[in-house]
């Protein structure tokens, strides 16, 4: 019979001789519409003559603690209007549920801690930011302290971990890096081609693609992809290792987590990113050449000759940036992971923040490099 009761909502109506309120249906969490019931009770009470009013439960009615709470509110409203409700004729099970509520020490929650408001919020953000960069500096220091002795004794570096990380960050990224760089090359060649074509300078499409891809686009695309793919996974891996106390376990076994986890990842990226950048350069130039020859009538041989005559500086200028990008991506990702405190929610936050920060710093550093190289005349 439960299913019928559960599907019939809580109701009440007034009855006289003696004056009473009859409660029907499911006075349960699923069955009560609290505000409507409280209003209906007030209305029903006003129709009854002065004096105490008994509450009566109909045969199929049910009550749980939520329903009992609603009854308490009905009684409180009635009392405010000078009416007295008599609960004594309710069945014993209902009385038990009511007494359960009566014994609760604190009916309403204590006031919630004040959220930061306006001015204080700005201060909090500033303090958090300062704290974040202080932690970041401390982390860089810690990594350096662990890295320097290892550089003197390179055989103590955990090369097997480095190899595993190179595979994850490098080998598995080959298809996506190659494809996206190829497409960027295609797009650049179209844009350059339309303009250069007007001047009959189609041969320079090859020059332009070569310079732009090798100096800027190749390193940037590779770095941004690695930041999104690998930097985020570093943050997530180390973050969940903190949540599951694996980092604490390493510490307790006197295995420094920085040496075990951070340095292999950092070295792997420092080795991988220049290689991926070279791949991105090749794929980008190929994409540009395909468009230049197919869309703008450039001869393959001529195009290759033009590319061959470019200075090697362009390639090296692009490549020299990549270890710096790799360092930034690895350190930001690992630091975000290591800074996770407590819960799974934090892991998600750390992952997002690592990607945003890594891409931000890659672009900022790239701009700084561009200006510096211009000043140096490279």
């Amino acid at each position: 019979m439960d299913e019928i009761a559960a599907s019939s909502p809580a109701r009440l109506h007034a009855a006289s001789e003696p004056p009473r309120l009859v409660l029907e249906g499911a006075w349960t969490a699923a069955g009560v519409k609290a505000e409507a019931l409280i209003a209906a009770a007030a209305q029903a009470l006003s129709a009854l003559p002065e004096g105490p009013v008994a509450l009566e439960a109909a045969a199929q009615a049910e009550l749980d603690t939520v329903g009992a709470l609603v009854l308490e509110h009905i009684a409180a409203e009635a009392k405010a209007k000078g009416r007295v409700l008599d609960f004594s004729s309710l069945p014993p099970a209902w009385q038990a549920t009511r007494s359960l509520i009566a014994h609760v020490a604190q009916r309403t929650p204590p006031p919630a801690p004040e959220p930061f408001s306006g001015f204080a919020y700005i201060g909090k953000v500033a303090v958090d930011l300062a704290r974040h960069y202080r932690d970041m500096l401390a982390f860089i220091g810690e990594v350096t302290l662990h890295l320097l002795p290892l550089l003197v004794r390179p055989w103590r570096i955990r090369w097997d971990s480095v190899i595993v990380e190179i595979e994850a960050a490098g080998v598995r990224a080959v298809p996506i890096v190659a494809l996206l760089s190829f497409l960027i090359g295609v797009v650049l060649a179209y844009q350059a081609g339309v303009t250069l074509d007007r001047f009959g300078a189609n041969v320079f499409i090859a020059d332009m693609i070569g310079v732009v891809v090798m100096r800027e686009m190749g390193p940037m695309i590779a770095a941004i992809l690695v930041a999104g793919r690998t930097g985020s996974s570093y943050a997530a891996q180390l973050g969940s290792m903190r949540v599951t106390q694996e980092i604490d376990a390493l510490r307790s076994l006197a295995l420094p987590p920085v040496e075990m986890l951070v340095i292999p990842r950092f070295l792997a990226l420092a080795i991988t990113l220049p290689l991926l950048t070279t791949l991105a350069n090749a794929a980008g130039v190929l994409g540009g050449m395909v468009v230049a020859t197919g869309g703008f009538g450039l001869d393959w041989t001529v195009g290759l000759q033009r590319l061959g005559r470019l200075e090697n500086t362009h390639y090296w200028v692009g490549l020299v940036k990549t270890p710096v990008f790799a360092t930034v991506i690895a350190l930001i990702g690992c630091q975000a992971g290591m800074s996770v405190r407590g819960s799974a929610l934090e892991v998600g936050r750390a992952t997002t923040s690592s990607v945003v920060q890594a891409i931000f710093w890659v672009i900022v550093l790239d701009a700084i490099f561009s200006i510096a190289f211009r000043r140096l005349g490279l």
Partner: protein, 262 residues
């Protein structure tokens, strides 16, 4: 609750089978859980306790067999009826499974907000009631789950399971990870909830003190089915080797050296 429903058992399982690929977990499992009792499901690791629990709380479907919860055949339910039945069950997961982005109070209020038509003030009162019934201090309600100790997490999870006044409460290892004092307090709490709310409690446990001290009925899972059911004292006297091994673990635990134990 009406007369008819008192007579139908809380849970009736007949001929239940579960398998993962070639691995058979349950075969022809029968189980009856009477209403208003504390029932403990015990069995060795890998005996399929959690698999059975997931079947009962309708998270997974068994490969074969029938499950009746509160007199209703789970397999025959439509979507609406299924949800309505689920709302009459409360589940406390082993690790608490509190939503980390919400405070304790918000965790307990969530089912009330989604499934009951109550103004905020009443929701808060209902949540406060359940939090205090679960034995959690009112001062802890604005904390986030990560700021809670193990025992508090269990109690907060219990409060959320109780939010909608369930008729059956499922507890997955409620006392694991608690110190003995907290564990016995939790046992007393479970018994008090049975008496106060008339709720049926179905718990997975490895805690022999809970099995002996706070269970009306013990169901022992082995050989892919319910090997034995009865009071803890009855089961401890049974001749089956699995039961003897399980219950002698406590008796013989102290007098073995490293060599004999290995």
């Amino acid at each position: 609750m009406s007369e008819v429903s008192e007579e139908t058992p809380a849970i009736e399982v007949h001929g239940l089978c579960n398998r993962f690929g070639a691995h058979v977990v349950h075969e022809g499992l029968d189980l009856v859980v009477p209403r208003g009792k504390v029932v403990s499901l015990v069995g060795g690791s890998g005996s399929g306790k959690t698999v059975l629990l997931n079947n009962l709380i309708m998270l997974t479907r068994p490969a074969a067999g029938s499950i009746r919860i509160l007199g209703r055949d789970v397999a025959a339910l439509g979507r609406e009826e299924r949800i309505r039945l689920q709302l009459r069950l409360g589940v406390m997961f082993q690790q608490g499974a509190l939503f980390t982005s919400l405070t304790v109070l918000e965790n307990v209020m969530l089912p009330l907000a989604e499934h009951a038509r109550l103004p905020r003030r009443l929701r808060e009162e209902a949540a406060m009631l359940k939090i205090q019934l679960a034995g959690l201090d009112a001062d802890a309600v604005h904390r986030h789950p990560r700021e809670l100790s193990g025992g508090m997490t269990k109690r907060a999870a219990l409060a959320r399971a109780l939010a909608l006044d369930p008729e059956i409460l499922f507890l997955d290892e409620p006392t694991s990870g608690l110190d003995p004092v907290s564990a016995r307090a939790f046992d007393r709490l479970v018994l008090a909830l049975r008496d106060a709310l008339g709720v049926t409690i179905f718990q997975i446990t490895h805690d022999l003190d809970s099995i002996f001290g706070a269970s009306d009925l013990v169901v022992f899972l082995a050989r892919k089915k319910v090997l034995a059911a009865g009071t803890a004292e009855e089961l401890a006297q049974r001749p089956e080797p699995e039961l003897r091994a399980y219950f002698s673990a406590r008796a013989g635990g102290s007098n073995c050296s490293l060599n004999t134990c290995l």
